[in-house]
Amino acid sequence: MWKRTPLALLNLIHDRRKFLTSVGGVAFAVLLMFLFSGFKNALYDSQLQLLERLNGEIIMINRLKTNMFVPRAFARRRLYQVRSFEGVEAAYPLYINDANWRNPETQQTRPVRVLAFNLADPILRIPEVSHYLADLQLPETALIDTNSRPEVGPTIAGIESELSERRLKIIGTFTMGTDFASGNGNLIMSDQNFLRYFADRGPEEDPRSFATADLGLIQVTPGFPVDRLVETLQAALPNDVLVLPRDGPEGFVIRERRYWEENTNIGFVFTLLTSMSFFVGIILVYQILYTDVADHWAEYATLKAMGYSNLFLLGVVLQEALILSILGFIPGFAVGGLLYTVTGNVTGLLFQMTWGRILNLLGLTFVMCLVSGAIAVRKVQATDPAEVFGG
């Protein structure tokens, strides 16, 4: 097999300029697929950035909070009730509220999301937070998310501006990212500071207190079965709260993702765009392969006259398809990865290039080229070796 003349490869690269255009075309289709599927994934993945950092195996929420966008809190005493159950190591409240942050450079106010908790509770798996525990005790201090959108202004320690028209000093930063419910960015502060800003915000806004919490985090005793504990807690607690495992197919994280998948057109629109790139790719590669067959029609027919079978010629065209898909994938992937970083920085969305997604798109690229190859091959099979005689 290796000793055969690599006809497919040599035919492809014979005309350098045509070859580069072909590879460029495939790369472009691959790049479009990377971008569109990347946007889709980024929009979903971004919704889960906070959820995946919650430091507890079980989550408690108000039953009406169908997604993170719904500002429904639950009675905090439910969390205290839970603490007496076997298997519950600890139970912590997390307070969440939206507030207007004044961009210190433009003086314009933008909604951001405030996350607050008792600084003694290890609520979030965000390593930076632990460095600032002492400073966060001070009144009117907070950490700002460096992945906030540009509208919030500079995200560096030392910034002083206003939150809900009250002075706030940024004493440090952390890195997370925005989602649909986070407005333009995230702030982290102590629960004491939370009360300072949200206990009394005037007649239009609901006052916040420690009587209600937005998320409850329950840490499970190591080794204790999480699912069983979830069932026990849900059965024991009144129906106003919902108890969910954080992970797993029925978990809190997946539930959030599923909500956005089922209730928005994001998936549909971007899947449509991805498929369109896929079909554009098929047409493109088909054009390339068809032209090759048409240009070398007499040569292929001569091969048939010499005694090569249809199967061999089929192999040549499919090899060309495969070579194109691999050579086109590499630059498409490289530029795609670059654009993921750039787009991620600009939009604050989470663009993740995972192995699964890379392999998935590589597979799609193979299929793209093989389908075009399969269509183009019919042209080769139709070549009649008798027709080359006489010219």
Partner: protein
């Protein structure tokens, strides 16, 4: 009546005619490279059916160099492509190198083709391959991957292209390209070589050179050659000249006889 039958079963139509011809077939003769008896050939089917060859009877002994001439459209290419197992045949008998081709399917025809060397009017070389690689494509059919390079270079050497083995067709003259095509046809030492106007695209001198080389090699290998040509200047390489007119064999003579006969006509 004939038309009706033809329309209902285009392919089988002539089978019903076969008994009407009532001509008995000679037994296979192992000394013949090509043995054709009562061969008819039709293009198309139904109303468009058109007969291209009429009751061809022809025997080519092994080792003979035969030139076929005839006016354009007389069926020369058709006959050569039938002998070359490039079309399926249904009427009469067509034995090539001992194998009956009538009734063979595509798969068996492919196998027969491997024992035949084809030379076309166009050289049909892959521009992307060097002269050597083009010839090696032929050797690869035999599975001799380890010696393909040596075989290809030896054959190109015999055709005077030893210093051109690494050139791509673009860098070769028309005559050189046709010589590469001949090397490709001969490298597997076929017992039968079929050539359809191999000099048509060449100038006088290179045409002459190519045919002389072909003749020399054929003699060396002892293979049978059937060559279609319009070129009167190369008739002398042949042992025998056959003339096809309107799908029928019109004459079958030695070169001298052919020239005399033609001279008589022109005078």
């Amino acid at each position: 009546m004939e038309n009706n039958v033809g329309m209902i079963t285009p392919s089988g139509g002539a089978t019903t005619l076969a008994p009407a011809q009532d001509q008995s077939l000679q037994p296979p003769n192992p000394d013949l490279a090509v043995q054709i008896q009562h061969l008819d050939y039709f293009f198309g089917s139904g109303d468009l059916r058109k007969q291209a060859l009429f009751d061809i009877n022809l025997a080519l002994p092994r080792g003979q160099i035969v030139i076929m001439t005839g006016p354009s459209g007389s069926g020369k290419t058709t006959l050569v492509s039938l002998i070359g197992a490039l079309r399926t045949v249904r009427q009469g008998s067509l034995r090539v190198l001992g194998q009956e081709l009538v009734g063979l399917g595509e798969r068996d025809l492919v196998t027969v083709r491997r024992n035949i060397g084809f030379i076309f009017q166009g050289h049909n070389l892959f521009e992307s391959l060097t002269a050597r690689q083009n010839v090696e494509m032929s050797v690869e059919l035999t599975g001799q991957f380890n010696t393909k390079r040596a075989q290809a270079e030896a054959m190109l050497g015999k055709l005077g292209l030893a210093d051109r083995v690494g050139y791509k067709p673009n860098a070769l003259s028309g005559g050189q390209k046709q010589r590469v095509a001949i090397a490709r046809a001969l490298v597997n030492h076929p017992q039968l070589v079929l050539a359809d106007e191999p000099t048509a695209a060449l100038d006088k001198q290179s045409g002459r050179d190519v045919v002389t080389l072909l003749q020399t090699l054929a003699r060396e290998e002892g293979c049978t050659v059937l060559m279609v040509t319009h070129d009167n200047r190369i008739l002398d390489v042949a042992d025998r000249i056959i003339n096809l007119v309107d799908g029928r064999l019109a004459s079958d003579t030695s070169p001298d006889g052919y020239l005399q006969a033609n001279a008589a006509v022109t005078c």
